[in-house]
Symmetry: D4
Subunit: 238 residues, 8 copies
């Protein structure tokens, strides 16, 4: 911890902004909107925009508060993606690392939107494969090769979440599974998919929180952190 | 209820044997062994063997008690299947209805053994497809046509139970899913598979209790009851 | 999987429509409305109406979105059943297979409406027996014979779900149990009924997801698939 | 609380014996064996036998410790019922109040044994109706009149616990439901039956803890307390 | 079941009214409002008012629908108690049996209102003891004698539900515990109180569903059924 | 209990006010607003203001009802803190005992507001440390010494609640952990944080209910009760 | 963290011993036995005995491993308390701070033994009040004054855990509640008591993990840490 | 799926061995021992050793069965690691990719043993950091730099699992969290740690099943699969 600079934390009263995160993790602190007032979000964003470099993100931000945040503070309005509920300043340029975002059904779309938007904002290249759940396996088999060509796969599924196992059985690259709250009754708001993905019969599936496209994108970003540390520019055919 | 004959229930003190079940359901009462003393099981079996016709079954019977039951009572020793933990007298002859029993992994074997043994004892014809879970989908795809040729499919899987959805997406016939307690941690002794199968993205999957090969076979028997009522001898190509 | 035709999946960007399902299961893909925009539903319906034959269904569609779907796309408005929340085009003619739909209480009505509407739209003949729960057993006993005359019985009950066991003890045909979210407190929004039905003391009860009249109807449709494969025209007295 | 006599609590170091319970509730404190050493049980029994009148009971006492308790202390050995796991001194004479003990299946027998033994030891008259679960309703209907003639009914059932609702729909007297741990998988060691009984569609069902024949008998004893307070000698035909 | 008269069930299409309940249980069927349309409630009420005698009750009826029910059908408007959400016709006269309704806190009031209103409507005499929870035990001790003088005690408590144990330790009469959804967080909407009351250290506590003042009153009514059968007119001092 | 004065409980019909609490606990009864009508709150407050001394608090009071309470009754309007949802009369003067209130994130702010406001109203001195969660440990380490200088620490955290363990490993003083409902999915509305804090690897962490800043402040007040009993005026350096 | 000395952590390969804890918390690291080999425990104990001063404790140590630990390593055998499963070296002398340990029932004894032994070993003075649960409130009321005279109260209860609320309503000092796994069925191995204590109607109850007498003693030790920091020698009458 | 070779699945009756996995995932199928007979394990191992290249692993194999497996079949005995419960043939040589395995406490050791052994057997280089849980943060901070130098970090923790958040806040590389069943009571056999890790406040933490060192190693292997695909030989300083 010796390397933590003396001004690594900025106290704002209602918050203590971590200004050291880009140094540790290659990305500034991300602002999670729920429970924060628009003015608070704007103040934290100002601090990050002034004192750090790199992308500044606000996640789970609904359109109404987004407009308030854009109007408050010292900053320019940034770019807001309503489907992904993401507000972003200073998106990173594409860094050559590829993420496949795969969904089981149409209803998983908003989670995929968040995953893809956060991944792109932090410099990853995203390819999407939507609605290829196991109820019609030929849809998945037709694109399995393309999915496996990515550096990391994000699989997003609700209900019983079986798609994560099917994909992980077909590809060798890392699989980050995102359970979603799609479904009703025994779906238990995503808990069933979470547990099912956790106990997948395919080896090496990792799971993040329900509906958290953001967490999956961050897991992919961590992978890119390792890849980049070894080779700034990836070599590949495709 | 007018049709219930006056001697439809036989009181034994510790039990009240339902002697009317074959009339209602085409099969005498089945004896569930846990919680019963061997002598009690033998006495109920005696009553059923004397007062009913058709197969008499004892399920979930461990080898030790099985020997005691065989030695007690008035009856011949019957046939005991240790893997299926099933004791049976007067098995039904094959009736022309076909059940496919499909498992996800080797560890689901004992549940499949029970399902197959009960199904055969009650006159169904069984084909087995073992260890074709979704971690290696080509194993399932290679036999999907054979599975779909059965009159009903029993899918047995633990962990995340994804096989039920995959099979139900491939075939049009009834699918009875049996969650198993295979797995650990988040598998929750089969609860995860149960919930997952319940919320399958493939339409029309039915689920029975955890590890209950017996219940699945009985569900298949109910289907044969309907089939038989319409046509005593099934017509088919294969 | 060799038989899957090359155009079996139609990518729409937000969805990948499975055009092969009628071949595999005797019924085109069914559209589950929640989480989809009306325009998305209309586009999928168009694709199915143009490229498949047979009934096209949209389930869990509320009246407002239903009007939007009817107005969008290339298709005629279809038939909307508000109680069942079902939008349907090209209903199948009655195929001679009979389903009994039985409810425990008046509050289970909407789930029965969905089960009956989906079953009828896919060519099944439905008889309904409402509000015959076990608190007044004579109501059930009076109609038990009629229930047992069907090819398959759908039992719909909330609270403790005891009706499934009672019916399954009285009839020999398949019993598909639907737990409902009727009740409060310890009813746990249907989880209690689900667990109870799962562990029914009557053998061979199959269970589908909470409030899913649709799943029960699809399970019945699978049974008809088997029946029809053996004999296109059922023979029966009643 | 003014009426509590000064010597109402006897401190033994490891326990504080409540000597006032018979005054408040018509029955001395009952000793729950689990977690207590045989010597501790014997010492508490001695205190109760010396300082109170009326029945002294030890519940959930396994045969081994029972022999140790009988041998320890100042008291005579008492009467031990191994099936009920009950040790008793000074049983109450029959007081004219009637309890019907009804079970769903043979495996519920030990819980019924405890309920009946405790009820008899405290002066209630017990009639038993075993194995009349809803899978064969005619068994229950045949004895419904006899069950309803009791002053209170104890219904003991595991699995889905449906018997409680069926009985409560047939009789007007108090129904105390005891869920049991009979069953497996979705039975959740009795939790499912507990929840199901709690949300019975039949009005006025009361529920006690899983496998607690003792609690049900105590609930019946409380009813007798009220009955006796009004009329020491019950009037009745049967 | 021989005694069930031929017209014991009245089919209304959406409902099957049990007209035999007064004969079996001394009280006509009670109408549970949730999930029923006002017109449906009115039709069932009409049937009961015409074909049975005794009180007719509608429970959990909100003020808006209550006005609609009162205006619909053939019946007079009845008496509506908004706090208890109870609509009643033909209340029973007081029958001499006494119920104590005890609450832990002010927030448990609405459940107590329902319990008291239903009890009074069915002929019981009610005494109330409000807000005497264990956080200030002297409040309970001051009235313990009065509580114990009733024929049956209904204890209503949320949060940790400790009041049920405290009361049951002080009185000898039956204790019916009602867990309420009062509280937050670990109170789990009443599940915690339900489980706690179920495992009370005081013997013989019976528990009904969360927030169900109705069930508790019905349990008390069952007790009165037994008391009345022995002696139409109770004898007592107080 | 001899010392309880005869007028220790004031019956108001809907409530029984405990007037003895200040004697037992150094603080009058606190009024929990949910489930109480504004008029009821005002009446209880009147009783406490007239018959007791010391602070009178109403917790969880939303702004609308707060205005109604202030306008009702005999009392002056008191001081209302909207963020803390606390209405207070007669705040205690600072008594020299120090509480550190520490939060993991900005979204935990309202719970901290309640804890701090209640603590201050009852005479404790509060220092706040906000947004120092473990995702950026240097923020916590920078203030660990200041936190440990307090007499008791309240740690408020949602999601995985790890901050409680981290703080408890750094300081020797009592740690009261408050899980919050911050987070989504696997956070289970605070249950996950509650369980996690309960099983902290740091010894001696105490936990109160989810989101209950009030309970934490009361736990701190109990500590001050002990401190004050030993020495009315605390001696300390800082 | 600057003050952490450079040799604050001792790596042993299988463990990293925290040698700084006495400085931070007034007590060396405590060794939790489960999951550790006797040789590992002995090695850690050696390290602590050599490099720290103050009491060294091993908790949850069964008699067999305890003998092995005593025989291994460099240390003297220490003092082993089999009931408390505690091995201790260098117990602290009594420091003048008082803990009351209160249990609901006899079966809670082993948890009380651990709490008392750990508390005494770390210098606290312990008074015990056993078996004073709420089923016989006069037992508790008789000793309430003595309990409230302690500096902190540890309340240990299983089943419904109501004793914590009752005690916390009677005393003003800190109350640390320990749920125990005493009970069966709905007691859920202590989860019910845990939840119930968490949502106690008495304000300011703190809860520690199930059966963790150790955690409660450590919470008491933290209180003594604060008391001692203010005044090394407590002043008091009793 | 065209590329799947015709002999990709080997049916053994009790199992269907997936012989194609090395092609898809760079590693042959791994044999999970529980639920398989030693002879079955040996037969599958034989098939894999003959028909595939690369490491062959049997996980969760206890010493007794391990000896039987080694003696059965055609194969040489392989290498058995009893602490890791891993049997291995043809371990992969070190491939230049680095995994840090970090544990919170000594009791998490066996899970770390499995993770490390599987990782090494599949060609990863492992560095271990044991017993650096958050109760003594200086232990973690001292090695944080070394942990962050690895290509991927496996964090293993039971109880509240806070270590995963702390590590993930300190490093930028992928973090795979393994909850363990260490702890008791509220630890819920690892469920609490699982949920807590899932909702970590540090972004991008991935979680695998409870106690599954194997799954974590496989997740690390997937990362190496991607790294290797880009550059067979990693470039690095350390």
């Amino acid at each position: 911890m010796d390397a933590v600079p003396p001004d690594a934390a900025l106290p704002l009263g209602f918050a203590t902004v971590d200004l050291d995160r880009a140094r540790r993790q290659g990305l500034p602190e991300v602002i999670y909107a729920p429970g924060k007032q628009p003015g608070e979000i704007a103040a934290i964003a100002d601090a990050l925009l002034i004192r750090t470099s790199g992308p500044v993100l606000v996640t789970r931000l609904e359109p109404g508060p987004a407009a308030e945040v854009a109007a408050a503070g010292e900053h320019d309005p940034g770019e807001y993606d309503a489907r992904a509920r993401l507000l972003c300043w200073r998106s990173a340029p594409p860094g050559g690392y590829r993420v496949a975002v795969v969904t089981a059904g149409t209803a998983d779309g908003p989670v995929a939107d968040e995953a893809a938007a956060v991944a792109r904002a932090t410099g990853l290249e995203v390819t999407e494969f939507r609605d290829v759940g196991v109820a019609g396996l030929h849809r998945l088999l037709a694109v399995a090769g393309d999915i496996g060509a990515a550096d990391v796969v994000i699989v997003i599924a609700g209900m019983e979440g079986a798609l994560a196992s099917a994909v992980a059985g077909l590809v060798g690259v890392p699989v980050v599974a995102v359970p979603t709250s799609t479904g009703y009754g025994a779906a238990l708001d995503g808990i069933t998919a979470l547990l099912a993905m956790m106990t997948s019969c395919a080896a090496g599936v990792c799971v993040v929180n329900i509906d958290s496209g953001f967490s999956a994108a961050m897991a992919a970003h961590r992978l890119a952190f390792t890849l980049r540390r070894q080779h700034p520019a990836p070599h590949r055919a495709g």
